[in-house]
Amino acid sequence: MEERGKGQHRSMFFAVAGIILLLLAAVAYYVQGQERVLRIGVFAGNNWGVPQGNSYAVLDEAVEEFQKEHPGIRVEYVSGIKKEDYAEWLAEQVMGGREPDVFFILSDDFNLYASMGALMELSSFMEEDRDFRTENYYKAALDYGKYEDQPYALPCAGVPTLMFVNKSLLAREGIPMPGDDWTWKDFLGICRRVTRDTDGDGVLDQFGCYDYTWQQAAITNGVTLFREDGRASYFADARMEEAVRFMMDLRSIQKGREITSKDFDMGRVAFRPFSFAEYRTYKPYPWRIKKYMDFEWDCIKLPAGPSGRNTSELDTLLVGMSARTRMPKLSWDFMKKLCYDAGLQERILQDSQGLPVRRDVVLSAKARDIFRWETEGADMDIDALSEAMDEAVMPPKFKGYRAAMLYADTELTKIINGTIPFNNSLNKLQKEINAMLQY
């Protein structure tokens, strides 16, 4: 009996020692992963689908300044990942638990990562950081980084949509340049006036607009297409009906002739919606000559519908922090450097095609200088631009958004083209989309 009791005690001792060893191993495993390298995830090129020279200029600047301010910290990023490969690259990193501490987030990825808890929730950082004021941001840009009303990412740069105007064409037709507060009525009127057969061969060869979408019409008429949670849609809204009727009117002017990008490049189209990035890309010296050499052009805000304003969607580039980062404070500092630092935000204006998301930076004297220098006289009104950013609306980004929009686009194109009779078709569409959104 005594012997057995002794043996039992020894085994017990080994079991307890084993548990302690296991715990120590777990702690050691956790600790050994800590080193002082901050990793950044970034893709080459830019978010706006326009050509760009040195795509890492702004980031390199931020890295350099950051390393200077934080001696002993090295900032690393993998260069050369294309935007189309970035989603997969990031997903692989996330699955391997190796995602960068701070990374750029594509619009399609934001909700995915925010919902699964891969992104750090930022409100506590924002509250604790006394230098940081959310009011400095354009609201649409800031809201774009929110999921279920909590901030998970900071906006880095934004791009509103503007209306490209062929000034030469309007001048030829004796039409004055429309102002930034123009309406659908003005837009439709000008389109009607310029759409004609100029060389008398019986075929229309000059047009009002190219690439103007029903989405743009809806937004400028104040339509909100989806409920915030992405579970219901409002396609049957009276304002949506106005927008569709407007699109049908616009289309009827062309008398069935499809307008191509070639028509536009040849200078035979008066209007085309243009993202700010495209404006920045094609407006400065080398590109302007190359792409649109035959005519003068400029950009103004989109025309407003009867129930809406001269607004557009704001395409925003987001930067988020990994929820598993071991250096949250440093990560936040880096995010702040990239997305909040006034100097860096200016660099965005100077070295990239996007617009800074800080209102004070956009409106600063320095920004005006950069603009004047780049556009050589034919300038864009910077106050109007800031206004456009202020008024811009945030595009939805819930999980099924892309699929729902794809379906809606197919159906609405049919409605606008007259393939499906208009009466009640929006109600039907809304029901169909709502059914889709339930899954």
Partner: protein, 426 residues
């Protein structure tokens, strides 16, 4: 128990297999450009493959160690045991989390441990409570973590349909085999417990028989003691009283012859005879004294009485309530002895014949009488055979002009009365 080890080993292997499968699949997905679409399907952030496998190994090792300690815990204090048990449940939850709740058979291990360890009276209730508790824990886990767990189907869906079917089937077989093993284990456990109970029952029977024999032997021993006591008394009487009386008779015979002729000599002789008688009386007193209980000499009477009842209560397991309502001012030695013997005999009878659990002993004095009432809650007696005990009590009492009554009520009641204030009688 072998099945218990088998159950643990089997579950350990399954958990490691599942974790390894997930780990490999995750790596494969990552290598085949499927990471983004995989993430689309899952509601939570997957752990890195190697880390999740290590976590599984860690949680499994922890659970095995804690389970082992829990099962060995004879030496451990009960509250430590509970702590270890809860730690085991915790490690079980951790283990289930680490394999994304793809397999919940490990819950049965915890149930098996409870059952193995606990064999008390409320076993059934405990089992039901434990089962319900663990069922709720696993379901709560599901409910709470459902949005936070990578579904097993997401891993499965990476493979082609035929492989998917095979994998799902394999998992179902794993679960079914585990349940089968668990049921076998429970059956064996219950059988083992039943056999144990049967064994205890047999032992109890043997013990009862032994007790019965012991009681018979005790009665026999008492009878022998009685005989021995009688013999001793006879010897004493013969040695002391007999001796003295013989001497007195012989002396008196001489005196009868001599009284006329030599009155002086006779007178001297009579004095001698008186001395002999006195010595004889002293001897008788000494003998009687030897018969008195030892406690009566050493302790004051009331304490001796209390002590005797307490000792008897302690040794027999009966509850004896000793109440005194009025105690006589003084008692003679012989009275004390009789009272002592009556009480002793009364409670012995209550235990032996009445199989009583409680005895109420009341002693009170009133109207020049001391009354002793011994009431028990035992079986009583239909028609009381006046045995040696009762007769003996009666005889002793009658010597003091007392009386004895007994009757059945809630149990058996004996009442003894002794008249008081007759000190000058002696």
């Amino acid at each position: 128990m072998e099945v218990h080890k088998l159950l643990w080993g089997y579950n350990g292997i399954i958990v490691l297999l599942l974790s390894g499968f997930m780990c490999v699949t995750q790596t494969k997905i990552n290598q085949s450009m499927g990471a983004r679409s995989f993430l689309e399907q899952v509601p939570a952030l997957p752990m890195p493959a190697m880390e999740s496998f290590l976590l599984t190994v860690f949680a499994l090792a922890l659970m095995v160690a804690l389970g082992w300690i829990y099962r060995q815990s004879d030496a451990i204090k009960p509250h430590w045991q509970i702590l270890v048990f809860f730690a085991e449940i915790g490690s079980c939850v951790l283990l289930m989390r680490s394999i994304n709740l793809a397999y919940d058979g490990v819950v049965l291990l915890v149930v098996a441990d409870i059952m193995c360890r606990y064999g008390g009276r409320h076993q059934e209730y405990l089992l039901v409570a434990a089962m319900l508790g663990l069922y709720f824990i696993s379901n709560y886990n599901l409910a709470v973590f459902q949005m936070k767990v990578i579904p097993f189907d997401a891993y499965i869906s990476y493979y082609e349909p035929t492989a998917q079917a095979a994998l799902l089937a394999a998992r179902n077989v794993f679960v079914s085999v585990n349940i089968a093993l668990f049921v076998i284990y429970m059956v064996l456990l219950v059988k083992g417990k039943h056999e144990e109970k049967e064994r205890i029952r047999l032992l109890n029977e043997k013990l009862g028989e032994a007790n019965e024999r012991l009681r018979a032997y005790a009665i026999e021993a008492e009878r022998m003691a009685e005989t021995r006591e009688r013999n001793r008394l006879a010897r004493e009487i013969h040695d002391t009283l007999g001796h003295a009386l013989t001497g007195i008779v012989a002396g008196l015979d001489a005196c009868i012859l001599m009284v006329e002729t030599a009155p002086d000599f006779t007178r001297a002789q009579l004095e001698k005879i008186r001395d002999t008688a006195r010595r004889g009386m002293t001897d008788v007193r000494r003998s009687v004294k030897k018969l008195r209980p030892a406690d009566l000499d050493k302790l004051p009477f009331r304490e001796a009485l209390t002590r005797m009842t307490e000792e008897f209560a302690a040794s027999s397991g009966m509850d004896i309530h000793f109440t005194v309502v009025g105690w006589p001012e003084s008692l003679r030695e012989d009275q004390e002895e009789v009272i002592y013997r009556v009480v002793q005999e009364g409670i012995t009878n209550a235990n032996r014949h009445g199989r009583a659990k409680t005895v109420n002993l009341t002693i009170g004095s009133s109207e020049g009488k001391l009354r002793i009432i011994i009431a028990d809650d035992g079986t009583g007696c239909e028609n009381v055979k006046q045995g040696f005990g009762l007769r003996h009590m009666k005889e002793r009492l009658e010597l003091l002009h007392g009386s004895l009554n007994f009757w059945n009520d809630a149990g058996f009641i004996v009442e003894a009365e002794i008249p008081m204030n007759q000190e000058e009688d002696l």
